[in-house]
Every structure is written in C-alpha cells, then in structure tokens.
Amino acid sequence: MVLGDFLLVLCLLGVVCSALLFLVSANGDKKLLSWAKKLYYLTFLFGLLATAELFYLFLTHNFQTSYVYGYSSSDLPFFYLISSFWAGQEGTFLLWLFIGLLLGLFLIRKKDDQLQGHTMFFYLLVHVFLLVLLLKKSPFSLSIDIPLEGKGLNPLLKDPWMVSHPPLVFIGYAAIAIPFAYALAALVKNKFDTWIKSSLPWVGFSALTLGAGIFVGGFWAYKVLGWGGYWGWDPVENASLIPWLTTIALVHGFILEKNKNSLRKTNLFLAIISFLLILYGTFLTRSGVLADFSVHSFADLGLNKYLVFFLVLFTALSLGLLIYRSSKLKSAESGKSVLSQEFIVLLGIIFLSLSAVLVMIGTSAPIITGLLGKASNVSIPYYIRTNLPIAIILGFLLSLSPFLPWQETTIQELTKKIALPLGLVIIISIIAVIAGVRNFSHFLFFFFAVFVLIGNFIVFYRRLKGKLLNAGGYLTHIGVGLMFIGILTTSAYSRSIKLDLLKGQPKEAFGYQLTFKGEENPSGKDQNTLLIEVKKGNEDYIAKPRLYLSEYSQGMMRKPHIKKLLTEDLYFAPMEYRGGGYLFSEPFELAKGQEKDVEGYKIKFLSFDMAPHGQGGEMKVVAVLQISYNGKTETATPAVLFGEDQQMTQKEAVLPDSNVIFLERVMADQGAVELSIGKKGEQGGETLLLEVSTKPLINLLWLGTIVIMSGLFLMTWRRSKEI
C-alpha cells in the first residue's frame, strides 16, 4: 500500500472512531467529548498529510501515480501544478474531504454546544462517504510502468479562473454539510432553539462560496470557451445551481424563523434537502448516467453503487428523522398579514424552491423519461421558459421588500414610500422601450430588475448611516438587480455577425473596420495568435483571438478576444482559419541524398527522423531537408503525424520567401519521400472566419455578481458574530 492510501485508511479509522466518540459523548460526558475532539485533531492531521502527499507527488512529477500522470506534465508552471490536483474526479473528492475536515475544526472549537456531539457525528458520517469513495478510487494508485512524462493539463483548464473555480465550489459543498448535520442533531435531540443560530453563518458561507464558484465558472466559460455565453444549463452547472437556490431559500427561512419563530419544519427540510441535492448532483455528474446528455463526458469510475448507496442512506436517515418528528414540530403560523416583509420573504422562499425543483426536473429529464420509456433530454428553452416568470416574480417581491416592515402595513403607507422610486423606474423603463425593448416579458423583467436596484439602493443608502454590517441583505439584492439587467441585455440584445476576412482586406462590423493582419507565433508552442486590426475613428487596436493546434489534444483549440468597453464587450471568436490557397507543385520524389531543383529551390533530402509521439500508437515522421535559395542554405523539416486510428496530419515547413513545403508520402522501405511545394497564389489568400458579437451592459452583470458576493459576505460576517 502506498503512503497516500495508508494515510487515507488512518483518516477513515479516525473519522469512524471520533464519530462514535462524539455520539457517545452526546449525553453530556465532558471527558469523552474532549477525547473525541483530540481524536478529531489527529484525524484532521491524517487528512492534511494525505492532501500534502498528493501535492508532493504533483510537485515532484511522480508519473508512476496514475492520477499525476493523467493530469500534469513536467513543463507545467507551479501555479498549474497546484490546480492539477483538482483537475480530475479523485482529486476533487480529496479536496472536498480536506476542506470538510478543515471546517470541522471550527465546529469543535465551540463551547457549551449541547448539539455538538450529534452534530459532529452526522458531520463525520458525510466524511465516511467521501473516504469510502476515495479508497475505492484512489488518487494515489500506481500504474505498472513508470512513464517519463505526464499527459499534461487540458489547455482549457490553464486559466487562473479555472484554478479557483473547483476549490470555491467544494468549499460550498463542504459547508452545506454543516446545517445538514445541525438539523439532524436538532431532530435527534428534539431541541430546536439553537441550531439556527449556529448554522446560519455556515449557510451564508456556503451561499457565498458556492455562488462565487458558479460566477467564476460562468466568467471562465465566457472568457475561454469562445461560444459567447456564460451559462449553458448543462448538468454540471445545474448540479451546483440547484443546491445554491435551496441554500439561498434557507438563508431567508432562517431569518424568518429568527424573527418570527415560524417555518421550523420548512427550515429543517431545506437544510436537509440542500445537502441531499449536493449528493444527488454528485451522483448525476459523476456516475455517467448523463454521459450522453452533457457537454462533459463523465467517465464511469465504477463508483455508482457507492454513490447510490450513500444517497439512499442519507435520504432515508434524514427525511426519516424529519417525518418521525414532524407531528411534534410546532412553530408560529406564518404569513398572517399580506402586506408585510414576512409574507414577501415567504413567497420568495416558495419561488426560489420552485425554481430549484424545475431546474432539477429538467436536469433529471434523461432519468425520468428513461424510466417511462425512451431516455430523452430537454433543451435549453425549457429552462428559460420556466425560470423567466419566476425571475419576474422574484423581481416583483424584491422590489416591494425594502419598503415593507416586518409588521403589517397599509396600502396608503406603502404607496407613500414607493411613489418616488416607482416614478424613477417608470422613466427608465420608458427609455428602455425607446431604446428597443419590445418583448413584453423582457419589459417586465427589466422593469422589476431596475425597481429592485433602485428600491434596495435607497434603503441601503439610508442604512449606511447606521451600521454597514446590517445592510448585507439590501446590498445582495442590489447585486441581483444589476445581474438581472445584465442577463437580459447580454442574452436578448446581443448582436452577432459572421465575417470572412481575407488577409489585408477590411470589412465593416457594428461600425468598426476590421482587417485581418495574419498570424503571430511569439513563443512557438501552442501560442498561435491571430491579429485583427480594429478601427473606429481615433480608436485603433489589434484584437488577438487565438486558434491553435493543441499538443495535449491534437486538436484545434480556440480562445476569443474580448475588448472591454464601458457599455459593452466586443467579442471576437475565431471560427476557422484557412491557410490560404496554396498553388501546389506536382509532387516529386526524393531518395536519401538526392537533390532536385523545384520552383527555384534546390532541395536535398538528408534523413528521416522518426519518433513515437505521445501515447498509444502515434508516430511522427520528419523529413530533414536542406534547402538552398538565393545563395542561402537552411534546413526545413516538414512532418507527418500518424494518429492512433491511421489518421494522418501533415505539418508543413516554411521555406524562404514564405512558401511552404509539405511531406506528402513516406516510403520508408525505399528510403524516399514524396514532397510538394505550396506557393502563395495571387488569389485565395489567407482567410479568417470570425464571429463578432456585442455583449451590451455585460459589465453590469459582472458588477452584480461582485455586489452579491459582497452582500453575502457582510451577512455571513454579521451572523458569525452572533454565534
């Protein structure tokens, strides 16, 4: 057994033993509790060491470890070596485990917590699940042979945003287990007065980190993938969106219960379901059940039965407990008065949950329809059609909420407060209609988004004079308003045009004059950059989208260029590059040592250079040629790549005077090659196919996400001081 696996086994032992100790100590045995805590520290140490060990294996390029081989290579910079850790499934489970154990340290520091024993028991049960998966499919397993070089990291993942995205998501995942554990502890102990206070900051924290993870993921997709969007309703995205929605509903439920002592059952249910949805999402995205329905291909690691087992176990345990206690769960009646903050928050919880349910049904469509007959997916319009009305209703609720007190108010009182902001919103909405908003539901969505923004800003501004800490909710809602406006403008009012740009010939798009200037290859490897001159009035810059052959995937990769302006982004996405119409010479044969005059070049075939290339049966054959032209002599090395399935890729070499030479055929048995020269023709020059699109007001969207994060941060900070 390798060191890493050994540490994981010790960690599992520690988790199981300390879980049992915590459980036994739950009847008030102080001494046992302190032993349980000590054992927990030791367990954490094992988890820490296992994590450090995997980092160590990456940093020392231990390619015998299959996981290190599969996701890194020795030329990766330090920064990306770190992120290779969570580039694959096994590593993300370890990351999740480590963060979970780390957060546990904060939980056990709490003194005089009557729920602590049970809470820690259930919390550690979650980590048993992670450890079983980790031991079943370990990131430490070795391969039989020792490869000299790793496969490398997918170039799509070589991005600072992608480095931070998985840790953020897994911090969120790990933190959601805390309210879950508290809810179960409260149910077992039949004691419901403290669990909300203790878990509220953790719910805020997980809403904050999971939300940040979702936003960062969206920003990454926009910046790197080049299809121009930031959200695609893909199962991987939905798997984190669904629990995020219920977590946000839970934040509101907690605040209601704290203020009004109502919604006890709902909150217990939401705390439980948020965690179960994380498990369900993990199952959906890791088991391979959706393999044919998602952009991502999820390899089935053979963990299915474990994932299903734990999903069923946790569901039965938690919902069973809730049902068992439910007849005795009494709380104050909620929503007595319609014109009050309380009623609005209640509706908000209902609609947030409804949205979560609808997204979940859509994501599970292949499973649901598979049970009834033919497995079938739902397309993106389903998500938009069902969520747009909900978003409008949420906008309506968030518009009213800053003007409603917790106690019932009267219509007259409300109108008085609302008149001025409403006037402002109407003026802005009229401007929007003049500017081009025609669709009625778009108009409603915009109207309420602006209302949310203005209404919450007014109250937030007033609150600033008091304590900023208490204004987190308003700040978050300002962010929601901003984000809603940005979502509408970038999705419904984005313009797009496809151009074929002949090198040197300008074309017009959105008032800009675009000229394709050619290619640039600054550092050689994987760095091919296209140069497009963009002109408008005094403005003049070079847009540099990239289109390159990736060594990692042996495929074309692209990266858009984004020009950020104050009111919109210009998004340049390269679609295809045509190397121009070469006029090919008749192919000619050359034996080793033979020399020929072709098209003014004196070409001599010196030798072959054959090397296995990459993994599998790939092979690269290079012909080393000596070229004399205008009195100068140099070497050219055209090549052919033979892929695994007899696929052939030619890699031309550039000749003096910017013509190219292709290796057409390799006759290894005769020691000869067939070559052809491609001459730049008069017509048919290099052409770039480019999609240019505008993303109006996208800065509002990004600003909105930052404001939401700030608001959630304030809220979490405030509640953590109340523990």
């Binding site: 329905f293 397309s379 696929q647």
Partner: protein, 121 residues
Amino acid sequence: MNWKYIVGIGIILIFIVFGALSFRKNMTPYVGFKEAMSSNSSVQIIGEVIPEDTRYDLESHQFFFSLKDPKGEKMKVAFNGVKPANFEQATSVVAIGKYQDGLFSADQILVKCPSKYQGGK
C-alpha cells in the same frame, strides 16, 4: 384553510402544469439516424464526426459536418453557429434539431470531449 393557502397552492399548481407543458414541448429524445429522418419534432442524434466532411460555408454562414453511427450510416448536419472550441477533440458529437430537406438542421451541438471529469486510463 384560509384563502392564502388556496392562492398559494393555486400558483404552485399553475407552475407545475406550465412546467410540465414546457417539459413536453422541449423534450428531445435520442433517436437513431433512421428515426430522426422520419420525425417531425426536435430530436437528438449522436455519432462520430467524419473529418473530411467538415466544412464551413461562406455564403450561408453555416457549418456543415457529417456524423457516422456505429452501423456506419451517415447523416449530414448543418449548424447555424460557431463551431465549438473543442470540435476536433471530440470523441463524438451530439446534434439537437430537426431533419429537413435532406439534412439534419441542428440548433445546438454538444461536443463530447475528454474533460476534467473523465478519468485517466
């Protein structure tokens, strides 16, 4: 039971019906090439890309490619959009759309590529 519960349950029911209708409307079952040709509604097909048949049409700004199913049957696909970043990396491609006038007109294509969720072999 007071009126608020009735209104609340009413709203939720409306949404469930609305959601179910949208669900049915936007359902795109996986079908074989033969079935896709005879279907009138949106479906999805999956197949391997035939590299030689991939081309971008400058006139119509459409992206054309062909898919091959395990039986070796071919289907021509037209896509009105940007070729996805990792198209060439694709092990297989999913096209969602309708069969019209001799080719499969795709509204959306999914590229199945080795991503971070694929286990190393």
